[in-house]
């Protein structure tokens, strides 16, 4: 049996940077801020095209956020980018007070989220940001799975009046969606009735891979893309619980506070079914190859397959 052709991969960061340039043309008031990582976050593309509306403030993420808030309270749409560990970690209270409490129209687009940062190691592998950001009142949280969703989500967030946080990975990812992103909607990327695998970000491609393998064993797996983490699609989660009877959640994030915890609480309250969370255990990461790190920390396709099998056993779908 021949392996399927490797899927086309694209940079989510490039997709973001290119979309900023397009938005900058139609919105002459829009400004973009970065904290000395514009080459990596790709805001440099906006900076080259619109240098007068681009502010590289240097290594001061907290004040990048307060300045962004001040610009937004003056009527502008503001994008602010840096790595996830700095955006959600270094600047947490500035995001909380200056942006969320002030209801400032700032879009924080944080790149280098999760373990797949790779070589930089545990200091830079932010696996707590989704929990921190979704816990903030007034905050919208988005975690795209591929470049097409990143393009759409960047535009959607630009059109939204209020604070938002979008997490992007460092690595290029396979194109797995048609890019039809909507806030509060969890697109069904594969239809199925025996089990649901819900995932965000880099894990969506792995969810589809596991679903494909299970399909070869005659198991029908529904795959949900939870890109809109907040607002989340409660009806899609409840429907998945009711119609497939079990949900496996995948995330490159701490299992304590991420989307697994979200799905578990939604189902517990609305339609209790078995839920398993595959994510980063209560640990910091370490240096390594991005994909080897995912495998090492329990996010391998094999481990996901095992967890899926356990759920199917619980459901009596397999022996």
């Amino acid at each position: 049996m021949s392996a399927p052709a490797p899927p086309r991969t694209e940079s989510l960061r490039d997709a973001y940077g290119q979309t900023l340039v397009e938005l900058g043309g139609s919105d002459p008031g829009m400004v973009v801020l970065d904290a000395d990582l514009s080459g990596s976050t790709r805001t440099v593309l906006f900076g080259k095209k619109y240098p007068e509306r681009f502010f590289n403030v240097g290594v001061m993420e907290p004040t990048m956020m307060t300045m962004a808030a001040g610009l937004a309270l003056s009527g502008r749409t503001v994008f602010a980018s840096t790595f996830a560990v700095f955006a959600a970690g270094q600047a947490y209270n500035q995001v909380r007070q200056a942006i969320c409490y002030n209801r400032a129209n700032v879009k924080i687009v944080a790149t280098h989220g999760g373990l797949t940062v790779g070589g930089d190691g545990g200091t830079h592998q932010m696996v707590e940001d989704i929990g921190l950001m979704r816990g903030l009142p007034r905050m919208t949280v988005v975690v795209p799975a591929d470049a097409p969703t990143t393009r759409t989500a960047t535009r959607v967030l630009h059109g939204l009046n209020g604070p938002a946080y979008m997490r992007l990975p460092r690595e290029n990812l396979p194109v797995v969606t048609d890019g039809a992103f909507q806030l509060g909607r969890a697109p069904e990327l594969a239809a199925g009735s025996d089990l649901t695998i819900a995932a965000v970000g880099v894990m969506v491609a792995r969810a589809l891979e596991v679903a494909r393998r299970l399909r070869e064993s005659g198991i029908s797996v529904r795959v949900l893309d939870l890109a809109s983490v907040k607002p989340y699609d409660e009806s899609a989660i409840v429907r998945a619980a009711r119609e497939t009877g079990a949900i496996l959640v995948l995330e490159e994030h701490s299992v304590l506070t991420g989307v697994g915890a979200l799905v578990a609480s939604v189902t517990a309250e609305r339609y209790p079914v078995p839920v398993r969370r595959v994510g980063v255990p209560d640990l910091f990461g370490e240096s390594g190859d991005p994909w080897a790190l995912l495998d090492r920390y329990g996010l391998s396709v094999e481990r996901i397959g095992d967890e899926a099998w356990e759920l199917l056993k619980l459901r009596g779908k397999v022996q």
């Binding site: 007068e52 001061m60 907290p62 956020m65 300045m67 001040g70 309270l73 007070q97 200056a98 002030n102």
Partner: protein, 285 residues
């Protein structure tokens, strides 16, 4: 040189500042909690802005070219509320609602509750950054309005304060005026004993500011500094205003224990007796 302000106008401002102090004491006493010391130290600086220098029309709070006032030391909220009431921009009776459930007068200023408030603050070291963002917006629009940020001196121990100050110096935001309420005390004691911020003026100069050191309770010095800040181009201005924490009330002055405390009714009576209303000679600003 700066044009001299007529003595009658100075006296009218001093009379208003006296009224603001009385209102601060009354509202804090009713509330039973709040920040007395730092509200009284910043009163004259705030009064000069609200009654004279700040270009603001309460009928048009969204006027794009209005001056902005950001209270980075958000705990001095009572000084702003009292000044707004004495100025007639909010009802005097509303001061009694300070810190009450449902009140527009939050413990720390909240822009969504009260129109005059440009930025919600409270956690320190953030309002200054927001003011820098507002001044940057003005620069981009070619606007000529002034952005004022009022900072506490304890707040000058916070790293993000210096980040923001550095940014304004770098961008030469000459429409930004940073006012530092240098009362020398923070919650636990003297700034210089806890974590010294001196030499403050030299630091600000090194951060590319025009630095004006004034007596923060002298109305002529305050007005002269505001006029100079507004006229200065190519760099921001920092006004280091030497003040007295708890100014005007003998038993509160220079006592750090009055940082976050409200007077009892009996204490308020004694305090108000020390601060009788000043005679009205006309010349209302």
């Amino acid at each position: 040189m700066d044009a001299a302000v007529p003595p009658t106008e100075i006296r009218a401002l001093e009379r208003s500042a006296r009224e603001v102090r009385r209102a601060i004491l009354e509202m804090l006493t009713i509330s039973g909690s709040g920040h007395s010391g730092g509200s009284l130290s910043v009163t004259d600086l705030v009064t000069a802005l609200l009654f004279r220098d700040l270009r603001y029309d309460p009928q048009r709070p969204d006027w794009p070219d209005r001056d902005r006032l950001v209270l980075s030391k958000g705990h001095a909220a009572p000084a702003i509320y009292a000044a707004l009431a004495v100025r007639g921009w909010i009802p005097r009776e509303e001061l009694a609602t300070l810190r009450r459930l449902g009140s527009r007068l939050q413990g720390h200023v909240d822009r969504e509750k009260l129109p005059f408030i440009e930025a919600s603050t409270g956690c320190l070291g953030q309002g200054i950054g927001m003011a820098v963002g507002m001044a940057l917006d003005g620069r981009l629009r070619g606007a000529t309005h002034q952005v004022y940020a009022i900072l506490g001196d304890g707040e000058c121990q916070a790293g993000p304060t210096w980040e923001a100050l550095m940014a304004a110096g770098h961008y030469k935001l000459d429409r930004l005026t940073v006012i530092i309420d240098r009362n020398g005390l923070e919650t636990d004691g003297a700034t210089e004993a806890i974590l010294g911020i001196e030499p403050l003026a030299e630091k600000l100069t090194a951060f590319r500011y025009q630095v004006l050191e004034i007596d923060g309770h002298s109305m002529p010095e305050i007005l002269a500094a505001y006029a100079r800040a507004r006229a200065t181009r190519d760099r921001p201005t920092a006004i280091v205003a030497r003040t007295v924490k708890g100014k005007g009330v003998s038993f509160m002055e220079n006592q750090h224990t009055w940082h976050g405390k409200a007077p009892s009714r009996e204490e308020a009576e004694r305090a108000l007796a020390e601060l009788p209303p000043l005679p009205d000679e006309g010349g209302t600003p």
